[in-house]
């Protein structure tokens, strides 16, 4: 754990052994009868100006990881350092102020905008709560934000239901940008959009990153989207990070058997290409009762005895290629 032997600048965000469990209540007195380990000892660094992609299947804990980092869910244990200071030690009020630097873009552009607020109010409110500018400056900034994300001035006086999905997601991005954050957690920002609109929004996010020097944590389940936008990619399985490395390295030289299976499932738009599909047996186990040892061992084609007993450590195999697998050591 915690091998930061890289020749990189100091990380903007440092997540160490993050754990988030949700209690399961049952019985007539709704007592706690168990817990779901949604995020299970996840560690990674995010460096300034980069885009870290987080991929994995539904329910693998990638959204929970994103929300726990922002303390929208209170993490169960672990450590989150942002610019060297521990986010988990901040009081509610200190955290509230710090949110100015940490913003979020949501998956569902239809659910993430208050239907009773005009666009101008949606974009102005973050400025008000963080005490940025006076009324006139804020109004100007709202119009500037609309321009930056490719919307029109006259859109400011409209309500969210009057926009299409892509436009709403632009509004969601503008809202996140309004307080000039350093880090944006984008939780599947394009998966609710049509493919034709997806690329528009992705390009917009890339342009904004360049323009404002943003750092992204980009959560997605679409491997081609992640490949397009990420500098480094982390692969999650059952609440754990199984592999984390640079984009090209991951797509060309995946080390973890799960990553290999995942990548082999990406469709190639060429019927001539014949390639090996790795088909996994069985389903993802329940995160309420994860397998002992390596979480992936019941489905792993290369399973060994040690995999059933010991949990593999998440370590650097060289050049910042982290992987958690007993095969590679």
């Amino acid at each position: 754990m915690g091998k930061e032997m890289q020749t990189q600048p100091s990380p903007l965000l440092k997540v160490q052994e993050l754990v988030k469990t949700f209690p399961i209540h049952g019985g007539i007195f709704s007592r706690k009868v168990g817990e779901v380990r949604a995020v299970d000892q996840v560690s990674f660094d995010v460096f300034p100006g980069e885009t870290l992609g987080l991929v994995g299947e539904s329910g693998c804990g990638k959204s929970t990881t994103g929300r726990s980092i922002l303390r929208l869910y209170e993490p169960t244990s672990g450590e989150i350092e942002f610019e060297g200071k521990s986010l988990l030690k901040l009081s509610q009020e200190e955290m509230r102020r710090t949110r100015r630097d940490l913003q979020m873009v949501f998956q569902d552009p239809f659910a993430s905008l208050n239907p009773r607020q005009k666009i101008a109010d949606i974009l102005e409110e973050p400025l008000i709560v963080h005490g940025i500018g006076n009324a006139k400056e804020r109004k100007e900034q709202v119009l500037e934000l609309l321009r930056v994300v490719g919307l029109d001035k006259h859109h400011a006086s409209r309500y969210p239901h009057q926009f299409s999905g892509g436009q709403r997601q632009r509004i969601g991005i503008a809202r996140a940008l309004s307080v000039k954050p350093k880090l944006i957690v984008a939780d599947e920002p394009v998966s609710a959009l049509d493919v034709s609109i997806q690329s528009q929004v992705l390009n917009l996010m890339e342009d904004l990153q360049e323009q404002f020097g943003l750092t992204y944590i980009f959560i997605a389940h679409d491997l081609s989207v992640v490949k397009h936008i990420s500098d480094r990619v982390g692969v999650m399985y059952l609440g754990r990070m199984v592999e984390l490395t640079h984009r090209d390295e991951l797509y060309q030289n995946p080390l973890h058997p799960y990553t290999q299976a995942l990548l082999s499932a990406v469709p190639i738009p060429n019927p001539e290409v014949n390639r090996e599909r790795i088909l996994l047996q069985g389903d993802v186990p329940s995160p309420a009762d994860p397998p002992k040892g390596c979480a992936f061992h019941p489905r792993c084609p290369y399973v060994m005895d040690v995999c059933k007993k010991e949990r593999p450590e998440f370590v650097d195999k060289g050049n910042g290629h982290f992987v958690a697998c007993h095969l590679i050591s």
């Binding site: 102020r97 949110r99 940490l102 979020m104 009057q162």
Partner: protein, 293 residues
């Protein structure tokens, strides 16, 4: 290609402002329109009551128990008072009591429901148990008990009616808040760095009003009946106040000899309750997302 991209971006789904949208479906809904016409009619009568009648509502005369005539449209009662005058002045009392009782229970109930739903935990447990206790009694019985403690009178009746309706609104608000607080835009508000107060009053509350408005309209009808019931039992408005329930109680001995003393106040109650129920049902249909085309 480039121009096409711009076109898609700037294309806005052309729809009217929310209230215009609402007015359109409102006017299309027959019972909502009929209900609001009845209510507006009653409000108008209550306001211009002195213009409509030459009599004082408490003025006695020697024309005892007259049947309806050109002079006394609804007849007179056992003290020679003009029943038409008393019925239209009675609208003032009923609407007044209904309005303030409902507003009172909406304000208190919503506030308690908001706290219970948003904060949960022990606050929710305490508030929900209080609601359960209030709901365990039949409403009118509780109102009678409270008026007995507070002393009879129209204002105390109003307070009692407000209190017995608190759990209705409290539970409604609590369930709305529980639903709305899981919405992404509330999470987004938190992620933006907003304080709880702002999240509650700017993001949760405005999205919880619809069921409260519908229930408020329907509760208005119940409140009018409850006020009349308390009046009938002698616990509400005191004579010579022209309260419909009190008038019904006074007319009981003459039901066979002078039925008009009972029919007209009774009809007034029916009309008022009908108006609010029609409007409430209409609003429920209009706000129901499944009814939208």
């Amino acid at each position: 290609m480039q121009t096409q991209t711009v076109d898609i971006r700037n294309k806005v789904v052309e729809e009217d402002k929310p209230w215009k949208d609402f007015m359109r479906s409102f006017l299309r809904h027959r019972s909502a329109v009929i209900g609001s016409v009845i209510i507006l009619f009653l409000i108008l009568i209550a306001i211009i009551a002195p213009v409509l009648t030459p009599f004082e509502y408490s003025a006695k005369s020697n024309d005892l128990m007259q049947s309806p005539s050109a002079n006394h449209w609804f007849g007179t009662d056992e003290m020679g008072r003009d029943i038409f005058t008393r019925v239209i002045y009675g609208a003032r009392i009923s609407l007044w009591v209904g309005f303030f009782a409902v507003i009172g229970s909406i304000v208190l109930g919503s506030l308690l429901g908001l706290i219970a739903g948003f904060f949960g935990g022990w606050r929710d447990a305490v508030i929900s148990r209080i609601f359960d206790i209030l709901l365990a009694f039949p409403g009118i019985l509780l109102a009678i008990a409270m008026v007995t403690i507070l002393g009879p009178g129209i204002n105390n009746a109003m307070i009692a009616i407000a209190i017995i309706n608190i759990p209705t609104f409290g539970r409604l608000m609590r369930s709305s808040v529980l639903r709305i607080k899981e919405e992404d835009y509330v999470l987004a508000a938190k992620a933006m760095g907003m304080k709880n107060g702002r999240i509650l009053f700017h993001h949760i509350l405005p999205n919880c009003w619809t069921p409260i408005m519908v229930q408020g309209t329907l509760s208005f009808a119940t409140a009018v009946i409850e006020a009349a019931a308390l009046g009938f039992l002698g616990l509400g408005a005191q004579p010579p106040e022209p309260e419909w329930g009190t008038m019904l109680a006074d007319s009981r001995p003459f039901i066979q000899t002078a039925p008009w003393t009972m029919i007209f106040p009774g009809l007034a109650i029916v009309l008022t309750v009908l108006g609010f129920n029609l409007l409430g049902d209409g609003l429920r249909d209009i706000f129901d997302p499944r009814m939208k085309q």
